[in-house]
Amino acid sequence: MLKKFASVRKILTLGLVLSIIFAAYSIYYKITYWGFSFWPKQTTKIWTIEAHVSFTPNGDPIKVSLASPYASDDFKILDEDIVAPNYKVKKDDKNKRIILTSDSIEEEQNIYYRILLFDNEDAKGKIAAPVPPAPKKPIMDEQMAATAAKLLKLADTMQGDEVQKVIRLLNQTPPDSTVVAFLPMKKTQKELSLAISRLLSLKGIPNRTARGIKLEEDKTSFSADLMMEAYIDGVWKLYDIKTAKKGKPENFVLFQRGGNSLIDVEGGNDSSIKFSVMKSITSSLNLAGKRAKLANQEDNFNLSVFSLPLYEQNTIKWLTIFPLAILVIVLIRNVIGITTMGTFTPMLIALALVKTGLIPGLICFSIILSIGLGLRALLSKLNLLLVPRISAVVIFVILMMQVMTVLGYRFSVDIGLSAVFFPIIIMAWIIERASITWEEEGPANAWREVIYSVIAAVLVYAIVNNEVTRHIMFVFNELNLVILFIVMLFGTYTGYRLTELKRFAPLVRDN
């Protein structure tokens, strides 16, 4: 007897361990490649950036070299698209440039480059950078060198780190006379960045300019921002050249680093590049497929429930919570030892409560039950046969639901509206069972059965009606398998139930 018992438990335990290992790997896989998370983050921001390049051709063959953005860990490129008819497009991934070539054309040219970025909020972190060589000393005439030296000395009186001191000094208002000698009063961003770069190089701090755009909602036709990057303490740090603010501004995407320009046009004049940004919000799960594609994990993804249309996904989301509810029922019955009406009745009530909300649902449940019991008491006087009688109760329930819904709508009482969510047949059986128990064993027993069932339902509800639980059970649906083995293992649980500890207590407490 013991031998067989032990082996069943062993097999199930092994199954449980294997399913946990599988689930752990699968969860890791989904987080890594599909971007799933334990928290129900409903949406992900998607940025559409449109770069509009325009220039006037001068008759020579055209070659346009455009900087493409750096995919960082915090912004991933979802999709890109170039609208440039008559051009040959080549991508230079190493230098992050897109090369467009064409024979000579006459008229004014407009090229659109569109990229979709998604905000990879889960993975924002630091990027390691290779150590750059020491900067070359800038070449300056004697007078300029003296001014620069003076400026560096002045900079020491400013606040912040080495880089910030320089930036702050050059941006001082009103500017110091020494600054004016070094930099014109009306300076362009480019002149300012050049001045900063020269002073930093003089100090021996590796630096480079960087261009990027700040992602803001519905910005149109603006130029890229110029930033300064300096290599300090082993990492490249980004500085705003006006405010000296350190670090990458929020929602900032880098397009280009170092001396190269954002755009080079051969065979054209008056080139300009203007950006537009549009923000859109999309469900995180919608993006999973694209993320999987980026990670070359498409095949696995297409076999998962997340590749289904949204409607089917929602149905499955509803289904995946059931195993957890079932586990709670198993605990209530076999470990706590509460007897309820029907095995899964409390679970079905609980799932209805999820849709209606706890208090309105319970009130609605009580109303249906009380009226139903009243009507059922009248029915029992008619001495109908069982099937027609229970059928009549089912129709009662349906009629009650209609009346409650209409009244609820008329008087804007949500409680009435929630009536339709209760499973009709289950309600009818609860009424039938309660009324039979009432007749045979008295109202006290009938109420006890109903109340125990409701308590069990509320317990299930408390666990099931949690956004995080629901999210986790759906997104990591391999947990269903783990629950399956846990439930089966409970099938071999031979310990005492909680209620038995009380029931049999008189046997060990001698009076």
Binding site: M1, F5, N334, G337, N383, L385, L386, V387, I436, E440, E441, G491, T492, Y493, T494, G495, Y496, R497, L498, E500, L501, K502, R503, F504, A505, P506, L507, V508, R509, N511
Partner: protein, 321 residues
């Protein structure tokens, strides 16, 4: 700090205490005893009272005489013809349990039927009751059922003072053919004439060798006197004890169930009779006897000889307990 916690569980025993006392819990009963010794295919033998009766008669176990069976709705109107010549009769669902749907008619003419608790039913009400039985109202799982009409048991006067109305019966738990524990169930006013312990009937634990009371409980708590009749329960002694146990012991051969509960009543004229068998007998018998069932089952597993006939097993129990 955990004072409130302690208070909350003051009425609870620890699992360790129960284990040491050899108390059998529901989970262990289901997993280690029932699913091991009771094959599913044998259940219909005890769940269907008609089959049980036929089997019992074959093996020579006394049961209340069968008057007739009503299988179909259109036969219900024949009820008066079926019971013709009988002064009294019992209607019960073949697949009922716990006394549900049992109607005991002690006297009737063509219109009025009087039950043992002096309730008067009209013919229509009787007709309705039988219809309810057929439609499965009282059967396990609500399946269509048949109504069994059988002879009334004439209760021995010996127990008259021990039971408030209702029918006292003896429940014997038989494990692998050996009577393990026994109790007598006595109806009270609170249990409304029924012998169900959870409805407030009195359970009197009986010594398995002698049939004498060893302990009595009501609502799981020890008592010494019947709450309604006031009689001293400790003086209870079941006569024809060997015959009682014989029925229980033979039930093992009859059904092949390794764990069963036999419900036996004592008829004034015919002696002990088997009323019904149960393939999933409850655990309240432990409380009535103030003994853990697991302990008894373990003893039977370990020390009782296997492969004996019913009479030999009976002798073994009566001598060696």
């Amino acid at each position: 700090m955990f004072h409130w916690f302690g208070k909350l569980f003051a009425n609870y025993a620890s699992p360790k205490e129960l284990r040491e006392a050899g108390i059998l819990g529901m989970n262990r009963r289901n997993f280690n005893v029932i699913s091991k010794y009771n094959k599913r295919r044998l259940y219909p033998l005890v769940d269907d009272k008609v089959q049980t009766k036929i089997l019992a008669n074959k093996i020579g176990i006394n049961t209340p005489g069968l008057i007739g069976v009503i299988e179909y709705q259109h036969e219900v109107k024949n009820i008066l013809e079926i019971v013709k010549g009988y002064k009294e009769f019992v209607v019960k669902p073949a697949h009922g349990s716990g006394g549900k749907g049992v109607l005991v008619i002690k006297d009737y003419d063509n219109d009025i039927f009087t039950t043992t608790s002096n309730k008067k039913l009209t013919y229509n009400e009787l007709y309705q009751h039988i219809s309810n039985v057929l439609s499965g109202l009282y059967s396990l799982g609500g399946k269509y059922d048949v109504a069994v009409i059988e002879e009334l048991v004439h209760f021995s006067n010996i127990f008259q003072d021990y039971s408030y109305q209702g029918i006292p019966d003896v429940r014997v738990i038989v494990y692998r053919g050996y009577p393990a524990l026994a109790m007598m169930r006595l109806a009270t006013a609170e249990s409304d004439g029924r012998a169900n312990l959870h409805q407030g009937a009195v359970g009197v634990g009986l010594d398995i060798r002698t049939g004498k009371a060893v302990n009595a409980v009501m609502h799981n708590l020890p008592i010494t006197h019947h709450p309604d009749t006031g009689v001293d329960l400790m003086k209870l002694e079941v006569p024809f004890w060997r015959e009682h146990l014989e029925i229980a012991t033979k039930a093992y051969e009859m059904t092949g169930l390794g764990y069963l509960g036999a419900d036996i009543v004592l008829d004034k004229y015919r002696g002990p009779m088997m009323l019904e068998l149960n393939a999933r007998p409850g655990l309240a018998i432990q409380i009535a006897n103030h003994v853990g069932l697991a302990k008894v089952l373990k003893k039977i597993d370990k020390y009782y000889p296997k492969k004996l006939g019913p009479q030999e097993r009976l002798d073994f129990v009566l001598k060696n307990n």
